[in-house]
Subunit: 251 residues, 2 copies
DNA sequence: CCCCAGGAAATTGGATCCAAAATTGCCAAT
DNA sequence: ATTGGCAATTTTGGATCCAATTTCCTGGGG
């Protein structure tokens, strides 16, 4: 239940742990784009030697989160706004395709029950007529699970892999929901209702179209925000844990 | 011109060279699925120490070509037929989307010239009314360039990355053309004609549909062959270098 | 005042060394 | 004869060491 869909604790190596940590730091924005990843520095930062660190860096570079230049080390990759837009465009196609695949299969009762649970959970969280910020993590989880359920229903591991990669961009992750506007989030959850029902009833094309719009709109919203305030988006995704309050050095 | 679209010789590290070599060996089938990749063995096989080798293995594992288990090493990943099918399905969607993106942009004269050159080259290679096996490498190159041109025209680096990953499956690479049937290859090249023209004229949806069928059909053909003769496909993509002629153990 | 050259310091890539885990083989016991 | 367990060997993962490249700083020349 609680275990993720991907890979269970097969990673006991410190290289994997280090990779996970660094990935997290980059996606959270703690390591900002362009920043050099000094091996000596990082290795004693994380309490390991350079060997597992280098393995981790090689993996993360392969994922595309950091850039590598021979003899010049790694640095956090900077994504342009247009690359973010492109990521959403492709993700929309892929998740739309996933809907179509999912709908073309026989949907079991338990699947329908899962959809129902997720959609109902969303209803509950939004029932107040406004989204309490404290409920945002819960909504986020529900959202992630909803999208993952569809992808898993499609039964095509490539989709899963590629969609996950589109999340491998700072600020683009599903975990980030920056809809301060209740109407927008309400509408988005209404999409969930329709998509779930469409898939359950075998309406593949309709589910696909809904999903494409669902994702593209979220992308447009984010791109818009990014253009207005390239830094500020980070703030709105929780994690007010910026220990030093002097973070707003807009001088 | 001749330099690839991706990354130019920024890889001077032996880890990159080793990775390229191993990748090649896997895709060529020299390292068969399930085979363990013993580090000591491989490292002196390739004339490097284990350090760059391990880096290379970590990268290739990240790409999905090999599996990894902590403390138990790497082994060549085995792809099921259905995974191969899935790869083609996703690739079809992605390349179809690339066509749509490409068509939605202004196509320059030089682009049209490039299309023309490629398509004409194909015509020339097929002009004999039968495909001389010696011309197959040339046709393969043309085919790869045609698909890459469209993807680059789409201007979405994610598509490029993901499509490349779908090629990262033994037997699925664009380099492999197993159409012994002249009619089929002729029809396939006719698709090229239509797709190029459709993109040039801004007929995005039509180009998309053509491309989807173009890719899916190739996938069906391969899947069919794989089901009939899981091993034999390797033979038909050149590289008759199987030193021992006792390879046809169909008894 | 700026720019280029040269050398020192820092940093990366590769090789080697060591510990921990897994695999293998052997022997005994049922 | 088969199975279970114990020990030796193999193999992997991590740490350290060394060479090579890069970066940075300084000083001299234009």
């Amino acid at each position: 239940m609680s275990t993720a869909t991907t890979s269970l604790p097969s990673e006991i190596t410190s290289a994997d742990l280090v990779a996970k940590t660094i990935r997290e730091k980059i996606l959270e924005g703690e390591l900002e784009p362009g920043r050099r990843l000094q091996q000596d520095h990082l290795s004693d930062m994380l309490g390991v030697s350079r060997t597992p660190l280098r393995t981790a860096l090689a993996m993360i570079a392969q994922e595309g989160l950091i850039d590598y230049e021979a003899n010049r080390g790694y640095r956090v990759r900077a994504f342009s706004i247009s690359e973010v837009r492109d990521a959403f465009a492709v993700r929309a196609q892929l998740e739309g395709f996933a809907c179509r695949c999912a709908a073309s299969r026989k949907v079991s009762e338990v699947t329908i029950a899962k959809f129902d649970a997720l959609v109902t959970e969303g209803d509950r969280l939004l029932s107040g007529g406004t989204l309490d910020p404290s409920l945002l993590p819960a909504y986020r989880r529900m959202n992630v699970q909803f999208h993952q359920l569809i992808i898993s229903l499609a039964g095509n591991s490539w989709i899963e892999s590629f969609v996950r990669q589109t999340h491998n961009v700072p600020l683009v992750s599903d975990r980030i929901i920056l809809w301060d506007d209740y109407d927008i989030i309400y509408r988005s959850h209404d999409d969930h209702h329709r998509i779930a029902k469409a898939i359950a009833q075998g309406e593949g094309i309709r589910a696909e179209n809904l999903m494409i719009e669902h994702v593209i709109f979220a992308g447009k919203l984010l791109a818009e925000k990014l253009e207005m305030d390239p830094q500020g988006v980070l703030m709105s995704h929780g994690r007010t844990s910026n220990h030093s309050p002097k973070s707003h050095k807009n001088g």
